[in-house]
């Protein structure tokens, strides 16, 4: 068979490269059982169990109380845990280096990943809202949905920056261990599922200004009270700036 090996170089258009990379990321994500476990099954399970745990949570409406926290949990699992572990191993296996040499470019890689996370979060959101509605959850009339989207976006940026910081600075195994450990800690003490003011008084103020506390409390303010969580939006925006700057400073491609 004859192949025409004469040079004819050229990059595909930027938008095509970005979208092809996004698809690649999504396909790989969908194939990893352990990633789907923490990004999809754990939040769904939490939602179902939480909706039956009125007495444990000491509330008449366990589903309404737990739902915003489950969304926050889903965001952390996707934009932080899954991204950190995935990127850590990509760096370790030289994927980042290799793709950095293709027309995709390092910027394309980062934007393609960001797009993939947003699409994956939309899928998570559809699944969780559908499940919640089936379980009997109803949105408050006059919920400020723009504030909801704003919180999700800011939290995604803050956690993704944090994930890349871990993955870009530590060895893949250490990233794996840290990402899982922080996920469990955030779940238990991070103000994700339970409001930060329900935590021990020593922790409460700290957690309120942490990214996990801010997204948890912020989503509860939107979905439970129907008001706009200005404080949490500012806190998350600040974290987004800090982790992005740190990432640019400390991220190593190899």
């Amino acid at each position: 068979m004859t192949l025409d090996l004469r040079p004819k170089p050229g990059a595909a258009p930027w938008s095509k490269r970005l979208i092809r990379h996004m698809w690649m990321e999504l396909r790989l994500l969908s194939r990893q059982g352990e990633q789907l476990m923490i990004t999809v099954f754990v939040p769904l399970l939490g939602l179902v169990l939480g909706s039956r745990a009125g007495s444990v949570l000491d509330t008449a409406e366990p589903l309404a109380l737990i739902f915003p926290g489950i969304i926050a949990l889903a965001i952390v699992s996707m934009a932080f845990t899954s991204l950190a572990i995935g990127t850590g191993f990509e760096r370790r296996y030289g994927v980042l280096k290799h793709l950095g040499a293709t027309p995709l470019s390092p910027q394309g890689l980062v934007w393609g990943k960001a797009l993939a996370i947003v699409v994956a979060e939309i899928i998570q959101g559809i699944l969780l809202f559908t499940a919640a509605v089936i379980l009997g959850w109803r949105a408050l009339p006059g919920t400020p949905w723009w504030a909801f989207l704003c919180l999700v976006l800011l939290a995604t940026m803050a956690f993704a920056g944090f994930a890349l910081l871990l993955a870009g600075a530590f060895r893949a195994e250490i990233t794996l261990a840290l990402a899982n450990l922080l996920f469990v800690l955030a779940l238990a003490f991070g103000g994700l599922i339970l409001p930060s003011d329900r935590l021990p008084s020593v922790l409460a103020p700290l957690v309120a200004y942490s990214p996990t506390g801010a997204i948890g409390d912020g989503l509860r303010t939107v979905l439970l009270d129907g008001s706009i969580p200005w404080l949490q939006m500012v806190v998350l925006a600040a974290w987004a700036v800090v982790t992005t700057v740190a990432c640019v400073r400390w991220f190593r491609w190899e």
Partner: protein
């Protein structure tokens, strides 16, 4: 008829390149004021023992590492500053794959092809590299040789003008190796610049138009394979016998042979240029004296010997 003088066009020019790394309190000089050129339409081999500075030099040309001092231009551009323009034009085959473990071979190649404007037809490329049956195999399950073939495909699928191949045939079976050599030859014939880093001297000797041998970060030798061998150690005459012989009798009888160096059992090397007359003398002397002569052959020095000679380890 006027003679047409073709001046080779440089794809990569390395000018006075130094690369140093900080290691604890000491400074490691990986590349020391190196100047080399890699031309379009040629295969340039960079050879050297481990730690000679090959990878540092090549990765600096690829834009992965920043030179400590000196200048590199690729098609007249800066490999780091002008990376966006260069990436589509340069194909890179990394030594250790650089792929997701869960990706399927065909899927990965199609994805990389889609990043380019005029990629090679993926199916034909896979078939050419005998990878067609492994399209659905995940990278995790590919053998070393299959990973190498896939990496080669990734490096060339975008139809680059300049291809860096780092140990392209490591772990390949002899068939795949020949096929790879053919592809590398076709890339050159098509007008691409190919830069090869290899530990297989036969590969470098067979393929290269130009060879640079590095040692301790500096250039130990350079030239075409023919030039390098011309400067090499003397040719040898190898004489083999069917049983033990008293070789000094032969040495005394034909003084121009010089003194023998025993290599394998009953096999002797003489550092002498063989001529038909000399071979005839040796053969007839052996016949007359009942020496059980099995073979006489002239051995040309190989690039491997030249390489070993140039990069000799200093024994401390």
């Amino acid at each position: 008829m006027a003679r047409l003088l073709v001046v080779p066009r440089a794809a990569v020019e390395v000018d006075n390149l130094s690369m140093t790394y900080r290691k604890a309190n000491s400074e490691l000089i990986a590349v020391d004021r190196l100047s080399i050129t890699m031309n379009v339409g040629e295969i340039t081999s960079i050879l050297g023992p481990n730690g000679a500075g090959k990878t540092s030099t090549i990765e600096a040309c690829e834009g992965f590492r920043k030179p400590t001092s000196g200048k590199i231009t690729v098609f007249g551009l800066d490999p780091i500053k002008d990376a966006p323009q260069l990436r589509p034009r340069v194909g890179v085959m990394l030594q250790e794959g650089g792929a997701w473990l869960g990706v399927r071979a065909g899927e990965l190649l199609r994805y990389v092809a889609s990043l380019h404007a005029h990629p090679l037809p993926v199916n034909e490329l896979l078939e050419r590299l005998s990878m067609h049956d492994h399209q659905q195999t995940t990278f995790r399950r590919l053998s070393g040789g299959q990973r190498q073939r896939l990496s080669l495909a990734i490096a060339i699928v975008g139809r680059p003008e300049l291809v860096f191949l780092d140990e392209p045939t490591a772990g390949m079976d002899p068939h795949a190796r020949r096929e790879t050599w053919e592809i590398i030859g076709e890339l050159r014939a098509g007008g691409a610049a190919v830069v090869l880093s290899t530990h297989h001297m036969d590969e470098a000797q067979e393929l290269s138009d130009r060879v640079y041998i590095l040692n301790h970060g500096t250039l130990a030798a350079s030239g075409t394979p023919v030039q390098l061998l011309r400067d090499a150690a003397e040719a040898q005459l190898v004489v083999e016998f069917g049983g033990a012989v008293n070789i000094s009798r032969l040495e005394l009888a034909i003084p121009e042979l010089g003194s023998a160096e025993a290599r394998a059992s009953n096999s002797y090397h003489f550092a002498v240029q063989s001529t038909p007359a000399l071979i005839a003398d040796v053969a007839s002397w052996c016949a007359r004296h009942q020496f059980d002569l099995r073979s006489i052959r002239a051995e040309q020095p190989t690039l491997e010997e030249r390489f070993l000679d140039l990069t000799k380890k200093v024994v401390r």
